[in-house]
């Protein structure tokens, strides 16, 4: 099955193949698509990657990806500075922002604890969170919004443990059935969790 291409093409395919969700076949298809594009178009992709990599850094406050430091959420005058929502990934910030009814600040951990993958508490942005809490005494509540995975839950418990001594109020997002979706589309794990956390009407 192995096909041979010239070194430059092979290199392009290999690089694309390293991206998440891109298998060998897709990498080949993308590579040939890029090569079929005119110069300008293809190089625009290369430039976009280079620029993004150069300009995007981590916000020194919340560790979210940003081109300006501090990021516009951390700089905003209209946000409640007493509440910080802790999430695993920059993507989670966008999701929370779409909701538009959270007006506090964020903290992005860039991962979750997972000993199996050798990711410990010191490998995610927890030191930054602790430092932030020391520097900003106005923070009164931490909302933990980790993914509802085994690792996300362990990370939430770990943070709760860390914060216990500080006396800062720590809350966690509740888990339940997605609104707007039919009950039949909820997966078993979600459904059994929602059943466990049911509320009296």
């Amino acid at each position: 099955m192995a096909m041979r291409f010239s070194p430059a093409i092979t290199r392009l395919i290999a690089e694309l193949n390293k991206l998440p969700g891109i298998g060998a076949k897709t990498a080949q298809r993308l590579a040939f698509h890029i090569l079929a594009q005119d110069n300008e178009q293809a190089l625009a992709l290369a430039d976009a990657i280079r620029d993004a990599k150069q300009d995007v850094t981590l916000c020194s406050e919340c560790c979210n990806l940003t081109e300006d430091d501090p990021c516009d959420i951390c700089r905003s005058q209209n946000r409640d500075r007493s509440v910080v929502c802790v999430v695993e990934n920059p993507r989670d910030v966008s999701v929370m922002e779409r909701v538009q009814n959270f007006d506090g600040l964020y903290h992005v951990l860039h991962g979750a604890i997972s000993p199996m993958e050798d990711i410990g508490p010191e490998d995610i942005k927890l030191r930054e969170l602790l430092q932030r809490l020391q520097q900003h005494q106005e923070i009164e509540e931490i909302i933990l919004a980790m993914n509802p995975s085994i690792e996300g839950e362990a990370t939430a418990l770990y943070i709760a443990r860390l914060l216990h001594k500080t006396g800062i109020k720590t809350t966690q997002l509740s888990h339940g059935i997605p609104m707007g979706a039919d009950l039949e589309y909820a997966d078993a794990e979600t459904l059994s969790r929602a059943l466990k956390n049911r509320q009296e009407l």
Binding site: M1, G23, A24, L157, Y158, R161, A188, E189
Partner: protein, 427 residues
């Protein structure tokens, strides 16, 4: 329920096979190593995605091919026609680093294996099952887990989550162990414990200092507790169910043994776990006890680099007249014990699911004396049965009426299939 059709592709020595079945007793016969057991294996696989002979899916693929598929159609006792299929595709065939399992229920693809369990029910009795009495604790745990999982999906999900949490905890134990031996030479840990940098230290401003800012020290127990809380919750669910079921299996198997052997020998099962736990306690109480035990064994576990207690280490003691059957029972008694346990499995499944499981008998009929054979067939007279035997003549040896031998005097339709080198011919 009743199996109506079996379709195999590249399964063991079958390239392509399609068979359809009526109710009754189905007999696969032929010489050794022609593929009789493979048929029962393929049917059984559709209950739980796992062969009764091997845990390695690679072994199930026809030599030279890169995937297998087993599909069964069946008619439930509620009158529904259903279909489940399990396929396994090798990593190489996908140009990927991971192999793939494909499952479907009524032609709709299912991604989580927990949703496939408990759809199709079959109980198998094969020579390997003697290991339930004779072998190590692993086989007995599997016997329990498979039975309970077929009745309760939350149980199966708890098993999945438990094993994931356990891998995380064991990885952390090894990390702590290595850190411990590294620190003993540099004594970094002790410095920290004696009031090193932590939350209480002065705030630091520059980004460089972040690297030197240490997270506040935690004890081993605290560090493990992050996993132990969830681990204890899943363990409690597993333990509670196992204790409940062991009680019921014990009673049911005991009755079966008496019926099979006309004796007053007494079979009893005892769950051997961490102690101090009974089926009368609530899940919450069990979780609290288990959590405390986990935390107490933290230092030992770090030393071993693995978790020394829990459902993954427990055992099920099978006793005959209050003595461990593993050492005290004769070969014949052990066989009767396993058969009683299997009948208990069948009856419990029937009672809890409202479906009559299919019975698969791999090469066991000739091992049983006529009384046990008759009683077994009496118990399963309403169940569809599939069995294997070496050759027709041998199976009927010393029997004037072969049908009597195989039906135990029950009024059953009989179907015979001659199996030779991967082809199956109805006779």
């Amino acid at each position: 329920m009743r199996l109506t059709s079996l379709k195999l592709t590249n399964f063991r020595n079958y390239g392509k096979l399609e068979l359809s079945f009526e109710d009754g007793i189905h007999v696969f016969y032929g010489d050794n190593a022609q593929g009789k057991t493979n048929l029962l294996e393929a049917i059984f696989l559709c209950t739980c995605a796992r062969s009764h002979r091997t845990g390695r899916d690679e072994e199930l693929i026809l030599h030279g091919e890169n995937f297998y598929k087993s599909e069964v159609e069946f008619l439930t006792d509620r009158g529904l026609e259903e279909k489940v299929s399990f396929a396994y595709i090798q990593a190489e065939a996908l140009n990927s680093s991971r192999s793939l399992r494909k499952m479907s229920y009524n032609d709709i693809e299912v991604s989580n294996i927990s949703e496939m369990i408990g759809l199709f029910h079959a109980v198998i009795f094969a020579p390997e099952d003697l290991q339930i009495v004779k072998g190590g604790p692993g086989g007995r745990r599997r016997f329990l887990d498979l039975l309970i999982s077929q009745i309760s999906r939350p149980y199966f999900r708890a098993l999945q989550r438990y094993s994931h949490l356990l891998s995380q905890r064991n990885s952390l134990l090894k990390i702590i162990r290595e850190r411990g031996s590294a620190n003993r030479s540099s004594s970094k840990r002790t410095d920290m414990a004696a009031g090193g940098p932590g939350l209480a230290t002065e705030a630091k401003d520059t980004a460089d200092d972040i690297e030197t800012l240490e997270l506040p020290p935690m004890t081993i127990q605290e560090e493990l507790s992050v996993w132990d809380r969830s681990l204890a919750a899943e363990a409690a669910h597993i333990l509670k169910q196992r204790l409940d079921y062991v009680e019921q299996i014990s009673n049911s198997a005991s009755l079966s043994l008496a019926y099979l052997t006309d004796s007053n020998e007494e079979l009893s099962l005892k769950y051997k776990g961490i102690g101090g736990i009974s089926h009368l306690q609530s899940e919450g109480e069990i979780a609290a006890i288990f959590y405390a035990r986990l935390q107490r064994s933290a230092e030992d576990d770090v030393f071993r680099g693995s978790t020394s207690l829990g459902p993954h280490r427990d055992d099920l003691e099978v006793n005959l007249n209050e003595y461990p059957a593993r050492t005290y029972a004769s070969q014949g008694q052990q066989r009767s014990l396993v058969l009683s346990l299997k009948i208990a499995e069948l009856l419990l499944l029937r009672e809890r699911t409202g479906e009559r499981p299919i019975l698969l008998l791999d090469d066991v009929m000739s091992e049983l004396d006529s009384k046990r054979r008759e009683r077994l067939l009496e118990i399963v007279k309403d169940h569809q049965v599939f069995m294997t035997g070496t050759d027709k003549e041998h199976m009927f040896e010393n029997n004037d009426d072969p049908t009597q031998f195989l039906t135990g005097g029950q009024e059953r339709s009989m179907y015979f299939y001659y199996v030779k080198a991967g082809s199956v011919t109805p006779v």
